[in-house]
């Protein structure tokens, strides 16, 4: 990144809207942008995403704006420029989400298979709404998924990869990218998301083990077979990776059935603490389920 880090206490002044934000913390650094925690003059807390790249920041703002009341993406307030010394940077002001991303979460906690299916269903539903609009999510990865501490909702925080169907995918992460597995073109269609979501499930199941070295679908499925999960679930994941499912929606249906009927495990021999809690509560909805997840681990 070309620009220096904003320092704590620095006041970001909007060139057009004249709003002032005081930087309180650095939240994260990406390839072309940094995200800061800021306070506006009324004392409200926001997340401020800063980049020199006018193109990507403008496009991301448009997508956030489009889905700002969807519930699964952060609310977006404004887009503006900040003149800093001789340079000019561009920034988005959006809802600050108090929580952790899934990557941070799974690095520290065990996550049950049931919970993994639940998370996949929630993300799948959000993808479904995108597909209905002729869009593809594209750049799925654990780092882009936030769990909000206050209400335990899952939010997709980076919409930079959202792409119109039919054109090429420009932002991707090899581990979730079907072209890197030689499983299809890097072009936006709903099956691109089908592959990445299937990979997400595998990443969550296998965690760090074995994943980075194996860019081979058959080998990944073989590894899954050695783990305590049901044939039915493996079949669904396998079909997802092969993108043989007739549509994204039918994949999602099958996932939901597995979730509801507890058909994800081979035997019932092993319970973790979380699952006992779930079984005790007879949780029906995935949303509620993540509330439990939050209670136990945050």
């Amino acid at each position: 990144m070309g620009i220096d880090r904003l320092y704590c206490g620095e006041k970001v002044v909007g060139r057009w809207n004249k709003n002032i934000y005081e930087v309180t913390d650095l939240l994260g650094t990406g390839g072309i942008a940094r995200v800061y925690k800021v306070r506006d003059q009324g004392g409200d807390i926001w997340a401020l995403k800063v980049s020199e790249d006018i193109h990507s920041i403008t496009k991301e703002y448009q997508k956030l704006e489009k889905f700002k009341s969807s519930g699964w993406s952060p609310f977006v307030k404004e887009l503006d420029d900040y003149i800093r010394g001789n340079g000019k940077v561009h920034f988005i002001v959006m809802e600050y989400i108090d929580g952790v991303n899934l990557k941070e979460y799974v690095d520290k906690n065990t996550i049950s298979i049931k919970c993994i299916v639940g998370v996949a269903v929630i993300i799948g539903k959000c993808f479904n709404t995108l597909h209905e609009e002729g869009l593809v999510f594209g750049d799925l990865k654990l780092e882009n998924i936030m769990v909000d501490k206050r209400n335990s909702k899952i939010k997709m925080i980076d919409l930079g990869g959202v792409t119109q169907m039919g054109v090429s995918i420009k932002e991707f992460t090899p581990l979730y990218d079907r072209a890197s597995f030689n499983m299809g073109l890097r072009r936006a269609d709903e099956k691109y998301d089908l592959f990445s979501l299937s990979m997400l499930i595998i990443v969550l199941i296998l965690r760090k083990k074995n994943i980075n070295v194996v860019y081979n679908v058959d080998k990944l499925v073989q590894i899954l077979k050695d783990i305590n999960i049901s044939d039915e679930f493996i079949k669904v994941i396998h079909k997802g990776l092969m993108q043989k499912e007739k549509s994204f929606a039918s994949f999602l249906d099958k996932l939901e059935k597995i979730y509801q009927n507890d058909h994800y495990k081979y035997s019932k021999g092993y319970f973790d603490k979380l699952e006992l809690a779930i079984n005790g509560l007879l949780v029906g909805s995935a949303m509620l389920f993540c509330g439990v997840l939050y209670k136990y681990f945050f």
Partner: protein, 246 residues
């Protein structure tokens, strides 16, 4: 809408040019003819700067392109990223000029909410632009243990480009060539992955690093001026023969 053709050369090297003229002069010459010269340096380890790759930056600067150092395993991905950046940069500059001409303004000086239309237009042009990309692949002795990854990277680039809407053609030149030739055309421009796949299998490492010759000969190939090799003449004659027999 106007169609845009982008001609680029990607010079892949793992060291300094050590025979023939100056690659910087050759790159400058190429740039003056409208071809963007990008350069990718192959590092021998993924940490620390390699002094011998300083030339990579110089070549890209002279050729109006961008440069990047990477490890051989990531070459395919890097070639794609470099191509993507080149396309974006070219179209952005083009549209920027138009904006200046028509409205006497720059994208940055337009109200943020109104920028999107122009950015969408840039995206559309980039997606539909036609790309002619020539890869000049270093095949000197030091590349010896990297050849299989180098071959794989060409396939990876072609696969990535296939996702685009616009037509993308790729050609490959090896330097040095065989039998003392400074370069060899491994594959002329094609959109067909299968066409290039067989041909790149013939890539072999050994010899010096004539980077300037590689750039000059890539230019001839891009501009369609390359002389037919004996091999090709024979093949074309066979075609004629067959026709006359029929």
């Amino acid at each position: 809408m106007e169609k845009v053709l982008i001609e680029q050369l990607i010079v892949v090297t793992d060291g300094r040019s050590n025979v023939g003229g100056s690659p910087m002069t050759a790159a400058k010459e190429a740039a003056s003819k409208g071809v963007i010269v990008n350069a990718i340096g192959i590092m021998n380890n993924d940490h620390g700067e390699d002094d011998s790759l300083y030339e990579v930056q110089k070549i890209a600067e002279a050729g109006g392109g961008i440069w990047e150092n990477t490890i051989i395993k990531n070459l395919g991905h890097t070639m794609y990223a470099v191509t993507q950046k080149t396309v974006n940069k070219t179209i952005e500059t083009m549209v920027g000029k138009k904006l200046k001409e028509i409205m006497d303004t720059e994208l940055e000086d337009i109200v943020p909410q109104a920028r999107n239309k122009i950015i969408e237009y840039i995206d559309l042009l980039s997606e539909e632009a036609e790309i002619r990309c020539c890869i000049a692949m270093d095949c000197s002795s030091s590349m010896n243990n990297k050849m299989s990854s180098a071959k794989q990277s060409v396939i990876e680039l072609m696969n990535s480009l296939k996702g685009r809407v616009g037509k993308s053609e790729v050609a490959v030149i090896a330097y040095p060539g065989q039998n003392g030739e400074p370069t060899r055309i491994v594959s002329d421009f094609t959109q067909e992955l299968d066409m290039i796949k067989d041909k790149i299998l013939t890539l072999k490492a050994g010899g010096m690093t004539p980077t300037a010759a590689a750039i000059n000969d890539s230019m001839s190939l891009i501009k369609g001026e390359h002389e037919l090799t004996l091999d090709e003449i024979v093949r074309e004659d066979e075609g004629l023969l067959k026709k006359s027999i029929v």
